[in-house]
């Protein structure tokens, strides 16, 4: 902050009410801490004004594919901040936190019911940690059977980057299975790759193309017949609530991003929460802790052959509280309605734009549709330009250039939260932008025009990194 004035303050601490204690040797002590000196109003105004530079769900349509930018109910923030939930210490004796552990247990049960995988640990702090925990479980399972030669993770070419990165952390060699021309896993290729080295097959369901894998039962059978486990990346679980249970399809392990499907705020990039769900057989390997109901009440337990602690305490508790509130508010019918409406909305957008934009796969999608700007690219405008132009209309850009197997990908996920009017507005804007490709291409090349900044020089940012404020620069 470059607005410090010596002597200003935003906060006063109480005077000490204990007798003065001797300070340690001055050689240990610090002279000064270089922090801002500003008034309280300056703090509030500074951060309030900064907030106004953001797009957010509260203020903008945010059709960011695979991120599930749905409404984040305000009541969930309020309830998770109740003093009885916010001001409890993670190491309090179980008897003093019965409500908190009961909440965790109930959420475990609900997630188990929704996914059909009844062993649940809420410990993972984000999707990537849930993935990593899942892979640790797979490795522990094979190790326990003295089958430790299984060191390969098979990952589709359409997978999110965290899949191979997590696999590498778990010491697994990543082998890529191809997608066929319909965007499905190439089953014959998988059959060639699955063998006695296969530890796990990591599959995103629905896929990053927004498609449900029609050969799923055959796929899980191929992997199981080879002795491997099936891990489902649940990033796209918003399509499946009450529509299908992963456990019924032969999935052994999955994670869910509570900050996607279960409406907890993304916070500009976290905090998240990525619970891991497994079959009964694998439950003994779950990361600790797991909430359990016993005769003497609720306790936090360590599963018998747990893969251990993947973080400091019990996971993102106040995120879990928000997700639980969301599930309770929607209930059985409401959750089903979430997925059904998300699927209808995505297909509606796809149907209304398919004459102007290519589709990654020409079939019905689930909760998101992957468009390709290949046609626009031939006319001189890239997917990036279209994404940036959308910002001028107050619409957040879709996910760009992902999945990598699609040329000029624009991944659009409207979610169930958006009204038909909003979808129609988006469709109209996307059609107008397609017109502009020919009529006013410079509008796209230079977009965005009306935001706090235009396109940024990211090359210089990386070449000569300036990563902190300092008085000299």
């Amino acid at each position: 902050m470059d607005r410090s004035v010596t002597g200003r303050k935003a906060f006063t601490l109480p005077a000490s009410d204990v007798p003065t204690q001797n300070l340690p040797d001055s050689s240990l002590l610090r002279d000064d801490v270089e922090l801002p000196e500003v008034s309280q109003l300056e703090v509030i105004r500074y951060f309030s004004v900064l907030s106004q530079l953001n797009f957010s769900i509260d203020t903008n349509f945010y059709p960011l594919g695979s991120c599930t930018m749905k409404y984040n109910p305000k009541i969930n923030d309020e309830l998770s901040n109740l003093p009885g939930l916010a001001n409890i210490h993670p190491l309090q004796p179980d008897v003093t936190v019965q409500g908190a552990i009961r909440l965790l247990k109930n959420l475990q049960d609900d997630l188990g019911e929704i996914t059909g995988l009844s062993g649940v640990s809420l410990a993972p702090l984000a999707g990537a940690q849930g993935e990593y925990a899942g892979l640790l479980i797979a490795r522990a399972y094979h190790d326990a059977r003295s089958d430790s030669a299984r060191t390969v993770a098979i990952v589709p070419d359409s997978a999110h980057g965290t899949n191979p990165a997590s696999a590498a952390m778990a010491g697994l060699e990543v082998v890529t299975v191809r997608s066929d021309d319909q965007g499905n896993v190439d089953v014959e290729n998988l059959r060639e790759l699955a063998n006695s080295n296969t530890a796990v097959f990591m599959l995103t369901i629905p896929s990053t193309l927004g498609l449900f894998e029609p050969n799923i039962l055959e796929i899980t059978k191929i992997v199981h017949d080879a002795g491997g486990l099936v891990y489902a990346d649940g990033a796209n679980l918003n399509a499946l609530l009450g529509v299908v249970k992963l456990g019924d399809l032969g999935v052994d392990i999955c994670h869910s991003n509570l900050h996607k499907t279960f409406s907890t705020p993304h916070g500009g990039g976290g905090p998240g929460s990525g619970p891991v769900m497994v079959t009964n057989e694998l439950a003994k390997f779950l990361p600790k802790p797991v909430a359990v109901k016993t005769d003497v009440g609720y306790v936090l337990a360590t599963p018998e052959m747990s893969v251990g602690s993947i973080n400091g305490f019990h996971g993102s508790f106040s995120i879990a509280a928000r997700a639980y509130a969301y599930i309770k508010a929607l209930g059985q019918e409401g959750l089903r309605s979430v997925s059904e409406n998300a699927i209808i909305s995505a297909n509606y957008i796809q149907a209304k734009l398919r004459d102007k934009y290519d589709l990654a796969a020409d079939r019905y999608c689930m909760h998101e549709t992957v468009l390709s700007a290949a046609r626009q690219k031939k006319r001189g405008v890239a997917g990036l330009d279209i994404a940036k132009r959308l910002l001028d209309f107050g619409i957040h850009a879709p996910t760009m250039y992902f999945p990598m197997i699609v040329d000029e990908a624009l991944m659009v996920e409207p979610t169930e939260s958006e009204s038909k009017e909003t979808l129609d507005h988006f469709i109209a804007v996307m059609r107008q932008i397609d017109d502009e490709v020919d009529s006013a291409p410079e509008l796209l090349h230079d977009a965005p025009h009306d935001l706090p900044v235009t396109r940024l020089d990211e090359a210089t940012a990386a070449r000569k990194p300036v990563l902190r404020w300092s008085a000299e620069v």
Binding site: M1, A10, F11, S16, V18, Q21, V33, L35, P36, V43, I44, N54, F55, S56, I57, D58, Y71, H89, P90, Q92, T96, G99, I114, A126, A128, R139, H160, T162, A168, M169, V244, H266, G268, P271, N311, G312, F313, S318, I319, I327, A329, E333, S337, E340, I343, A351, Y364, M366, T399, S419, K420, D446, P452, L456, E458, T460, A462, V466, L467, R468
Partner: protein
């Protein structure tokens, strides 16, 4: 035309009505939702979901009210002396107020920098504050929590030194080393314990991982240990308590290579363990091995200052299995809380806070040390935690304390005989401390 038969219209979170759904299905060219679901094996479609019916907001509030009421907290009259990685501190109104801004709360990771300058500039300020507190050259935009930051720092040291043996000081919190174990288990890494008073270490260590104040609240000789590491070609990784940095010399003064911390004490509720934020800083020379998001300052096409994610070629979405970490979603919003907290307390506030915590903890220790049967084991300089050797088993004492609405210190008898790790911060008044001391005295050997 059949609409989707399953939907229960008009939930407050779902705007589409039956007629709108029917209209959209018509535009898609199907007459029912099921036509969109044909890729899903029919026998598994629409399973029974054994969940309760949805609740109104008012009912939901009642449910949560009763859950919260089952927990013992200051609002139900309890005082607590637990620390060990999560600390009770007063959270200023500015932090709570800014946290209400939906523009921060409901934004995504800033992949479109033009639409996320607020989040990005806060992240840049966060990095600045982490550098200022630690006196390190560069910091990232945050890790999941303190223990994962520490684990990733040790793994980073292994990459930098191209060595596979990680030394962890014996006085370190097991939560740090356990997380490191889970993170490094399948990466061919060996973890070895280094005695806190070691004068010699193996010459093939990637780093010495040091916690200071250590698990027992004592300040370690970071300068000496860092020199010991460097003399043996290893890095020094130091996990600090950020509140202590308001008072004690920063690791940057001692040539430390990587610094991590649990950010929770800086304005984040204890919330039964999370979400928190890991602070992560290092020497500039090692930046390309640093995990996590990094935000840089740059200019736009009109020459105006702006901020963007940078050095992304380290990250999983580009580097995939060769990334420095699998971290993706991290803890930006908690970083905002830390940033507003540090800006609010400012230069003087951080000093005053550290001093207040120090004074109160040392007062409590001195009073407890006067009691028959109890003795304070921590020697040297401790910050706001100290070890009390109790006259009977700490769990028994804690049970008796609980009846007096006091949540005692952490039972650490597995690491220190009859040991209780007591934590005192500025949120304990003298009256609270005196009440605790009196209760300990009354319980004594009878527990």
């Amino acid at each position: 035309m059949a609409s989707s038969a399953h939907t229960s219209p008009n939930h407050p979170y779902i705007p589409s009505t039956d007629s709108e759904r029917a209209e959209m299905l018509g535009a898609i060219g199907v007459d029912s939702l099921d036509a969109l679901l044909e890729d899903i094996p029919a026998q598994h479609r629409h399973p029974k979901l054994n969940l309760a019916a949805g609740l109104s907001e008012q009912e939901l509030s009642t449910v949560f009210g009763s859950i919260a009421a089952e927990n013992a907290s200051p609002s139900s009259g309890y005082i607590s002396f637990l620390g060990a990685g999560s600390y009770s501190h007063y959270i200023p109104s500015t932090v709570r107020s800014i946290l209400q801004r939906g523009e921060f709360v409901t934004a995504y990771t800033p992949y479109q920098p033009e639409a996320a300058q607020g989040t990005l500039q806060v992240g840049f300020e966060f990095q600045t504050i982490v550098c200022q507190l630690t006196e390190m050259e560069v910091a990232n935009a945050g890790m999941y929590d303190g223990p994962t930051a520490f684990a990733e720092a040790c793994l980073m040291a292994a990459r930098v030194t191209k060595r596979t043996k990680i030394g962890v000081l014996s006085s370190t919190d097991k939560r740090l080393s356990d997380t490191l174990l889970a993170y490094s288990k399948y990466q061919g890494i060996e973890i070895v314990e280094v005695a806190a008073d070691a004068t010699d270490i193996p010459d093939d260590l990637a780093c010495i991982g040091i916690q200071s104040p250590n698990f027992f609240g004592e300040i370690e000789d970071v300068q000496r240990l860092t020199k010991l590491a460097h003399d043996n070609g290893a890095l020094s990784v130091v996990h600090v308590n950020p509140t202590a940095l308001g008072m004690f010399k920063a690791p940057g003064e001692f040539d430390v290579d990587i610094v991590t911390a649990e950010g929770q004490p800086l304005g984040v509720p204890m919330a039964f363990g999370g979400p928190y934020v890991g602070l992560f800083a290092c020497k500039k020379a090692h930046i390309r091995q640093m995990p996590g998001r990094i935000i840089g300052r740059t200019t736009d096409t009109k020459g105006r200052t702006g901020y963007a994610l940078t050095l992304q070629t380290r990250e999983q979405h580009i580097r995939r299995e060769r990334a420095t970490s699998n971290i993706c979603t991290s803890t930006q919003l908690i970083g905002l809380m830390v940033t507003v907290y540090a800006a609010t307390l400012g230069k003087q506030g951080m000093k005053d806070l550290a001093s207040l915590c120090y004074q109160k903890a040392h007062y409590a220790a001195a009073e407890i040390n006067k009691l028959d049967g109890y003795s304070v084991k921590s020697s040297g300089t401790f910050f706001h935690e100290f070890v009390v050797t109790c006259p009977s088993a700490p769990p028994k004492i804690n049970e008796a304390l609980l009846k007096k609405k006091i949540i005692g210190g952490l039972d650490i008898s597995d690491r220190s005989e009859s040991g209780m790790l007591v934590c005192v911060t500025e949120t304990s008044s003298k009256a609270d401390i005196d009440r605790f001391v009196k209760a300990l005295s009354e319980i004594g050997v009878s527990a």
